[in-house]
């Protein structure tokens, strides 16, 4: 479309994406509003705060940390909102990629005079606009609620800006990863399962590996207590565990939002988007219905499934076979059995075509 702008070229694609996800576009902001803004209204406008809180508000005696704890509930509303938005973008990615493989939409889109990168961009843009719009409108509404509440002296724009920015990064990073899974899997079922597996994989794999190494007598340094049992110093193992926990990022309280976490989400967003675009552009349409669309993806999935299943079977074996040689022998027996069985099952699954 040389005479038209790039935007005009995107319009029909965006229009189609909108038509497919129309219900979402309206439902997501409404539910987010209920989770975040309505709860704030409940706390400050419709339920009268306790006399003690009102007195403390009048005295302006909330210190910095107390302010976010008592007035903003440590950002619990926003954390709940982020989890809802993550669920919403996961379903949106399913509708945009998994479902379109079955209903002929992909065939139509790929036959249109647009590059696949542009088709993918239109999908991502729709999701990004939905998330941005939801966050923007609800954050502004939240600011207004706080401004007219008894805690109006404690309206902190930096709080709202940080929550908006962090939520935006976390949700879009999650969305990019959900799209990436959608772009490499061939069915709705495999996209659904693998998206949740991917979300839990880093932390799950680390915990499994940690437990397996423990059985073999190798221990990662873990948190140490100060003798009173109420404080600890996170060490390497704990730090890795925290860094890999995606749900942990999403449910962070306000005071735990730090730059490196935001940066990690930004990197995840960029990498996820880049990989997802690449996978979508190289989509093997003829493999629709299969667990994975690409040979490389099949190989990665095969090794990951066999490794994880073997470690899980090893842990089960450790519990079942309590032999004199030590718990490692039970683990090893379970590991080998798990390896053989999972290799056989995943081989069969990778050959199958699923209707959904």
């Amino acid at each position: 479309m040389p005479s038209n702008s790039r935007w005009n070229g995107m319009k029909p694609l965006l229009g189609r994406e909108y038509a497919n996800a129309r219900l979402f576009i309206f439902a997501v902001p409404i539910v987010y509003f209920l989770i975040v803004v309505l709860k704030r209204m409940n706390n400050w406008l419709w339920n009268r705060p306790s006399t003690d809180t009102l007195v403390r508000l009048a005295r302006h005696d909330f210190a910095h940390g107390d302010l976010y704890r008592y007035v903003y509930d440590n950002g619990a509303n926003e954390a709940g909102g982020r989890l809802w938005l993550l669920l919403a973008v996961f379903v949106l990615a399913l509708v945009q990629l998994g479902v379109e493989r079955r209903n002929g939409s992909q065939e139509l889109l790929f036959s249109l005079p647009y590059s696949r990168a542009r088709v993918f961009l239109s999908k991502w843009l729709l999701g990004a606009m939905m998330v941005t719009g939801t966050l923007l409108i609800c954050t502004l509404a939240d600011v207004v609620v706080m401004a007219v509440s008894p805690a109006s002296d404690y309206v902190r724009l930096d709080y709202f800006a940080a929550q908006f920015g962090y939520s935006w990064l976390v949700v879009l990073a999650g969305y990019a990863c959900a799209l990436l899974v959608g772009a490499v899997t061939g069915s709705v079922a495999s996209q659904t399962i693998l998206t949740w597996v991917l979300a839990a994989f880093p932390i799950g794999f680390f915990l499994l590996l940690d437990a397996s190494l423990n059985v073999q007598g190798i221990q990662l340094p873990r948190r140490t207590h100060d003798g009173f049992g109420n404080s600890y110093t996170p060490l390497l193992g704990d730090r890795i565990q925290d860094a890999l926990n995606f749900i942990g990022y999403a449910s962070l309280s306000y005071t735990d939002i730090v730059w490196w976490r935001a940066l990690a989400m930004l990197v995840l967003l960029g990498a996820g988007l880049l990989l997802a675009t690449g996978a979508y552009v190289r989509n093997r349409v003829e493999n629709n219905g299969k667990l994975m669309l690409f040979k490389g993806g099949e190989t990665v999935l095969r090794y990951a499934v066999v490794l994880c299943a073997s470690m899980i079977a090893g842990m089960v074996g450790k519990g079942l076979f309590r032999l004199g040689a030590g718990e490692w022998l039970g683990y090893d027996i379970g590991f080998v059995l798990g390896c053989v069985l999972s290799a056989f099952i995943i081989r069969r699954l990778l050959r199958m075509r699923f209707k959904y």
């Binding site: 189609r16 038509a19 209903n103 190289r282 093997r284 349409v285 003829e286």
Partner: protein
């Protein structure tokens, strides 16, 4: 206008398209025929850019369909099942295509829909299978694209609607639109096309529709004087189409170098009457003994 060079495609390890070469001139109408599973739909999907080829290229007016998808503004693919339009009305679909295809003609679309008796404001999901195919064909033809690829456009539609759709196709061809029509309606294809693309074991043979079997196969009605020569009738150069009493309808290899006709003449049959060879005869001759592709 359309040039396919060395096109190959493997699906699940099986070669579906093998080194396909073909060229279609502007304004031409080609019929794509072959047995079920021969790769007709795969070929159309590769040409329209839905599937990536493993080897070779598809050029439309000299530009690669896969590397420069914008050339597809003049190339439209109409699949055999327009599920993608569920949720749209006729007008909704026309609005979208109007934004994509520069020469889309909404008035023409409305006229075609009216001629086919299809409502413009009803959700496509609520159309019957045949109505969906008619809608899809009308939508594709209304783009006024230079080349329209149709996969089984008469799939699931009743005989009256079939005639209407074929009339639309012939009108579009008369207006200069190039068409590639995949279909099993051999009689109709023979009438409306100027080229036949016969798919066989992953490759394509091109034949002119006029005199489609010239120099390939001859059709004869034969009555033998004595006992029928069973061994000769089972030879690879002969295929028995029909056998009623002493009358045989035969297809004989008429390619240069084949001795089938001379052998028959040497047998001095009581009757040996040539019959016109139709596309269906060529189809049976070329593909009759082949099993379905797995």
């Amino acid at each position: 206008m359309l040039a396919v060079r060395g096109l190959s495609k493997r699906i699940d390890g099986k070669a579906v398209l093998t080194e396909i070469d073909l060229e279609l001139a502007a304004g031409g109408v080609a019929g794509l025929i072959g047995r079920n599973g021969a790769g007709k739909t795969t070929l159309l999907r590769v040409i329209s850019g839905i599937l990536d080829p493993d080897g070779g290229e598809v050029l439309f007016e000299g530009r690669s369909v896969h590397r420069e998808p914008e050339v597809k503004r003049e190339l439209v693919f109409i699949p055999d099942s327009p599920e993608a339009w569920y949720g749209y009305t006729g007008w909704g679909a026309a609005y979208m295509f109007g934004q994509i295809y520069p020469r889309f003609d909404p008035a023409c679309f409305r006229d075609m829909m009216n001629r086919l008796g299809l409502p413009l404001d009803r959700n496509i999901r609520h159309f019957s299978k045949g109505m969906r195919m008619m809608f899809s064909t009308a939508l594709g033809l209304s783009t006024r694209a230079k080349l329209v690829l149709l996969d089984e456009p008469t799939n699931g539609i009743d005989p009256i609607a079939k005639k209407q759709v074929l009339t639309l196709l012939m009108e579009a061809a008369a207006d200069g639109m190039s068409l590639v029509v995949s279909s099993h309606l051999l009689e109709e294809l023979e009438r409306m096309t100027d080229t036949i693309l016969l798919m066989r074991a992953g490759s394509v043979e091109m034949h002119a529709s006029q005199g489609v079997a010239d120099g390939i196969v001859a059709k004869l009605q034969v009555v033998f004087g004595g006992a029928a020569p069973e061994a000769w009738l089972r030879s690879p150069d002969v295929r028995v189409l029909e056998h009623i009493g002493r009358v045989y309808t035969l297809l004989l290899n008429a390619a240069p170098g084949s001795a089938a006709l001379k052998e028959l003449e040497a047998m001095r049959p009581l009757l040996m009457e040539p019959l016109p060879v139709r596309l269906e005869d060529l189809y049976v001759w070329k593909l009759g003994g082949e099993p379905y592709a797995e």
